[in-house]
Structures are given as structure tokens and as C-alpha cells.
């Protein structure tokens, strides 16, 4: 069965519930603050997912989020890929002391895989919607 408006509403509701249950209520609030209007349940769900992806890709450190968001807004990489973060190169003395040459001010490792998973969900929803609209079922 293709998905319908009721499914979209249910998915959005359960996603928001899962976010709040995971202690990420402020993330939900930030996303909602970006939503200006509604154009139906499919639009609401996919917009929420897109905003969720954008927020998640910034990581969870509030100060770093703000800095990285601003940096990405006004600068880009050569490939057009968003800037991943900041890499701090340590001095030789510090490298010996902390046993590492550098550290990253960036979203924690693993976040990117989760972002890719949400992109995949978004893509699946869009394909399903397109096929349903085209009457291909």
C-alpha cells in the first residue's frame, strides 16, 4: 500500500515523540520555529525531515552549532559540500602531551551516518509519493 496523508501525519507525530523521548526537545522546538506554514501532511513531514537533517549535521554542542551554522552559511568548500568543522593543529609539545596531532571542533563521529539514513528515508518518501501521484501502482 502506498503511504497516505494519515501515514504522513502518524510518521511526523511519532518522529517528534521519539525526539522528545530521547531528551532532544530543544531540537524539536528549534525545527518548529523554522516552520512558517503548512501545505499538507506530506509537505509537513518532509520539511520537518529536511530541517532535522540540517540541525543534526551541526552536532549537539550549542556554541559549536551556532559557529558552524554561520560558517556554512557564508562559506563553502571547493566541491560545494558543507564545511565539516574546524581542525585544530597542536604544537609539537602539545602533540606529545595529549598524544594526538590535532582535534576537531565538529559534530561527533557517527552523526554523518545518521544524516545519510535520514536522507534515505526522505528519498524513499519522495519516490513513494511520486509513484503514487503518477498512478504507477
Amino acid at each position: 500500500m502506498p503511504l497516505h496523508d494519515e501515514d504522513y501525519r502518524d510518521l511526523l507525530q511519532s518522529m517528534r515523540q521519539a525526539i522528545r523521548t530521547a531528551g532532544l526537545g530543544s531540537l524539536d522546538e528549534r525545527i518548529l520555529s523554522e516552520v512558517r506554514n503548512t501545505e499538507g501532511p506530506f509537505y509537513d513531514l518532509t520539511l520537518y525531515l529536511k530541517l532535522l537533517i540540517a540541525e543534526m549535521s551541526l552536532g549537539s554542542d550549542v556554541q559549536l552549532q551556532a559557529v558552524l551554522r554561520r560558517t556554512r552559511e557564508f562559506a563553502m568548500t571547493e566541491s560545494g559540500h558543507p564545511i565539516d568543522g574546524f581542525r585544530v593543529q597542536l604544537s609539537p609539545e602539545e602533540s606529545r602531551m595529549y598524544n594526538t596531532d590535532s582535534f576537531d571542533l565538529a559534530p561527533p563521529p557517527g552523526i554523518q551516518e545518521i544524516v545519510v539514513e535520514f536522507h534515505s528515508v526522505l528519498e524513499e518518501l519522495s519516490k513513494d509519493r511520486k509513484n503514487d501521484t503518477n498512478g504507477n501502482r
Binding site: G59, A75, V88, I111
Partner: protein, 225 residues
């Protein structure tokens, strides 16, 4: 194509959210002391503000070259063109470059002939610089368009004396002349060469030290993070 399965999508979404909550609770940079990370985070904060102004006020397209990570160093050094930096582009042409944690060769070194191997007194560091395109090594004072110092500490008279020394080694005091910028940070500066110099500090006390900056062309900003 098979129809999407609402229950399967719901499970995937919920699992991804749980993984995100777990991943985001860890700090990747917990190996180094907070003083170092907070200082560098402040530099990143100021850098993002500088990028914003260069984009919005100076209409630069800004591209991070040679990396997807913005470089910050805990000890400064010369420019290596193979290292990550920002190109400042206007109408498809590179107009200038922005580097972090760079040492420049001083005006006094230039005045003394600039031929001997520079000693530590012949160069000084700046946290953020905008320089002539194609600069390599330690750029001479005349290649500096903009220097920025970021102070995530209490601001005091020693820091004022330090930035006055940097101003002295960048330019001579002159009547106002046009900078390389149309609007930000300044159109005019009382300096030759006409480099701009800015201090950002988390300490509101920085605003007590602005008077000499008005004469020598140094802009002080209280900028909490």
C-alpha cells in the same frame, strides 16, 4: 517499485534518533583541556563573524580550499599554499586570501633591509589575516589587508600594549587613506600601508581601551560567545 512501508520507516526513524541522541552526548575533543578548546572555539566564532561580514558587506564569495575542515593552529607559522585557507572571490576572480594563525614580517624588518634571515623579533602572529592572493611564507607587512586578534581572556593593558605594537609593525601613522575594503571593517584608516586591525574580546573591559585605537586605526569589539 515496492510501496513504502510506514511501520518500517517509523522503526528506521526511531532507531536513527536513538543513535543520534547517543552520538551527540559524546564530545570528540575531550582529550585536550577545556582552556585550549574554548580558546579555539572563540577563534572559530570570530572567524565565522568575519566571514559573515566579508560575504554580506564586501560581496565576496568565500571558498575553503584544500580541505573540508577549517584549519586552526595552536602555534602560528608561515603560509603554506598547500594548506587549507579561504579564497575570497569576486566576479570569478580571486581577490584575496584569508588565513588563520599566521606570522607576518614586520615593518621594522622591511626598514632594516629585509635581507637577513628573520629572527623571532622580526615577525608577529595574527589569529586571522586577509592577505594578497598568492602570498607564501611569512607575508610582509604590506601584504596584510586585515588582521584580527581573538582574546577569550580578561582584557588588560598588556594586551593593549601588544596590539599597539602590532599596529606599529604593520603600518606607519598617516592621514586617513582608503583600505582594500568598501565598507567593512573600514573604508579609511590612518595607516600606511592601509591595513585594518581588529580586536575581539569576550571581556567587556576591552571597551575601556578603545581610545588609542581611534588614533591608530584599531577597532575593538566586545564579542561574547
Amino acid at each position: 517499485m515496492a510501496a513504502a512501508d510506514a511501520r518500517a520507516l517509523k522503526r528506521r526513524i526511531e532507531a536513527a534518533i536513538r543513535r543520534y541522541a547517543q552520538a551527540s552526548s559524546s564530545r570528540a575533543y575531550s582529550l585536550v583541556p577545556n582552556s585550549l578548546t574554548s580558546g579555539k572555539l572563540y577563534e572559530a566564532h570570530v572567524l565565522s563573524l568575519v566571514l559573515e561580514r566579508l560575504y554580506q558587506d564586501e560581496n565576496f564569495r568565500i571558498v575553503l580550499m584544500n580541505s573540508t575542515f577549517v584549519p586552526l593552529k595552536s602555534s602560528p607559522g608561515p603560509i603554506n599554499p598547500a594548506y587549507p585557507h579561504f579564497d575570497l572571490i569576486r566576479r570569478s576572480s580571486k581577490i584575496a586570501e584569508l588565513w588563520t594563525d599566521i606570522e607576518f614580517l614586520t615593518l621594522s624588518y622591511d626598514r632594516s633591509g629585509g635581507l637577513a634571515t628573520p629572527t623571532p623579533g622580526d615577525y608577529h602572529e595574527l589569529d586571522i589575516v586577509v592577505v594578497d592572493p598568492g602570498s607564501t611564507g611569512r607575508p610582509p607587512h604590506r601584504s596584510i589587508w586585515l588582521g584580527v586578534e581573538c582574546k577569550n581572556t580578561g582584557y588588560n593593558k598588556d594586551l593593549l600594549r601588544s596590539i599597539l605594537g602590532v599596529r606599529r609593525e604593520l603600518s606607519l601613522l598617516q592621514d586617513d587613506r582608503p583600505t582594500h575594503f568598501s565598507k567593512w571593517p573600514r573604508q579609511m584608516v590612518p595607516a600606511d600601508p592601509p591595513s585594518c586591525l581588529i580586536v575581539y574580546s569576550t571581556d567587556s573591559a576591552v571597551l575601556s581601551y578603545t581610545a588609542p585605537g581611534g588614533v591608530f586605526g584599531i577597532d575593538f569589539f566586545h564579542e561574547p560567545i
